[in-house]
Structures are given as structure tokens and as C-alpha cells.
Symmetry: C2
Subunit: 147 residues, 2 copies
Amino acid sequence: MRLNLQTDFALRTLMHLAVNTDRRVTIADISETFGISKNHLMKVAQALGQEGIIATERGRTGGLSLARRASDIRVGDVVRRMEGNAALVECFPGGAGGCRISPACRLRGALADALEAFFASLDTWSIADLVGGNAPLHDLLAMGETA
Amino acid sequence: MRLNLQTDFALRTLMHLAVNTDRRVTIADISETFGISKNHLMKVAQALGQEGIIATERGRTGGLSLARRASDIRVGDVVRRMEGNAALVECFPGGAGGCRISPACRLRGALADALEAFFASLDTWSIADLVGGNAPLHDLLAMGETA
């Protein structure tokens, strides 16, 4: 079981933006910090923009910024949105379907409840909780060091 | 986010065995029921055997059976064992590693807690809970119908 890379990269992007609220942050900056391809990050930024989690400005002076306060962005909500229809098993919405026992299977409900417990646990964290008072993280994400 | 196919197939195998406790069940039976390749199922059976969840007997009269009562096999435990080192993100044990902020990242702990909440939710279910009193499931998995 693993998260989509897009979800992982989205969370790193949000932490980066939450640390560097006073700086212009570009795709290139985030790419350099984490060693993630710009192409991949552009798709992530587009998805986060569509979900209203970040604001994107184009052009030479453009960049990315949080569209809401970091304390108002719940980690579970981000993961839920980025994972979209990623089906835990094939009988889930978005899955391939075709399991013979689907009409009578209690496992689907059990897995759906477990997934909700996963998201609910993550919802106890905001992006602000991840970065607030975390000096080592601020050092690692400081823009001066990535230039 | 999705479970490994191996985990999915393991859970279906266990339900099949729990329904047909009074019959000899072979890899071929399970393969036919679910339309899953025998090769794939052999690996699943081997893993379940190594974990002490099922007993496997070889040869012409061989077959698979539950090594414990269905009520003593927790779904969360099965998923935990079958997923093994599947890393939710790259900084997890078994992951590729290499994320720059790992030393200061609080997200790893938040994700680990959420994963535990996922397993704990599944642990409220036993294999017996999935099949007990579930006549439609018993009909779908009845061996006579798969011959």
C-alpha cells in the first residue's frame, strides 16, 4: 500500500510553501529542493490549484502560494483529494470491477471504513502543524540554501 | 492508494476457505472462482502458509485449509502481513529513501499513525465476521457451482 507519488509531492510542495510564505516560490525552486522533475511538479501544482489549495501565477514574476492559511489546510483533505478515485481494491469506485463476490462481500465496507479512519487520523493534522515551530525543517527548506 | 493485488487475493482466498471448510479446496478451485491465475494464487498461498494463516498439503489429494479458526484471523493482521514492507511513502521502512526533509519531517509520523488507524479499523473484523450468516456469499462461493 503506498500513496500516489502525486500525493507525496503535493504534501512536500505545501510544506515548502508554508515555510516560505514571505518568498516567491517557483516550480523550479521546489524541483531543486526535492530533486523532483518540473514536469511532475507542474501536474501536482495544477491539481492543487484546481482544488483551491494553492494559487498559481504565471509568467516571469509568477510562482506558487498557499490559497488558504496553512492552519486551514488539513492533511487528510489533501490526501483524499489527490488520491481521487484511487481504488483500494478493484470493487471500489474507479476500480476495474469484476470480482465475483462483490454483491455479497462485506470486505468492501470494512475497507471503506478503514480508509475513512486513515483520512480521519490525517485530518487531525494541518499543514501548519507540520511546519510550525519546526526549526530544522525551516532550515532544510530555506530558499537561500536551494539557490 | 491501493492494496497490493497479493493482499486482495489473500483475503478472497481466506473467505473461500472459510466458506468451504467441509470441502477440499485447491488452488485450481480458487482460480476458477475468482478468475485469478494459478501462479499468482500459488504465491499468495505460499505467503499465507509462511505466516501460519493457512495450511497447505501437496499432491493429488492436497489442498488448502485455514490453519486457525476463521474467528481468530483478523483482517487487519492479514493485510499488515501481506503488505509487508510496502512503504506508504519513500521515507518509510522499505521505501527508496532520499527525501531531503526526512530528518525534520513530521508527516512521516502522521502517516504512520494513520496507517495504524487503518489496520486497527480492519482488526475489528475477523474472517468469520465476513462470511458468517452471509448466505449470498456462501452461494457465490459454493464449490458445486464452480466445478
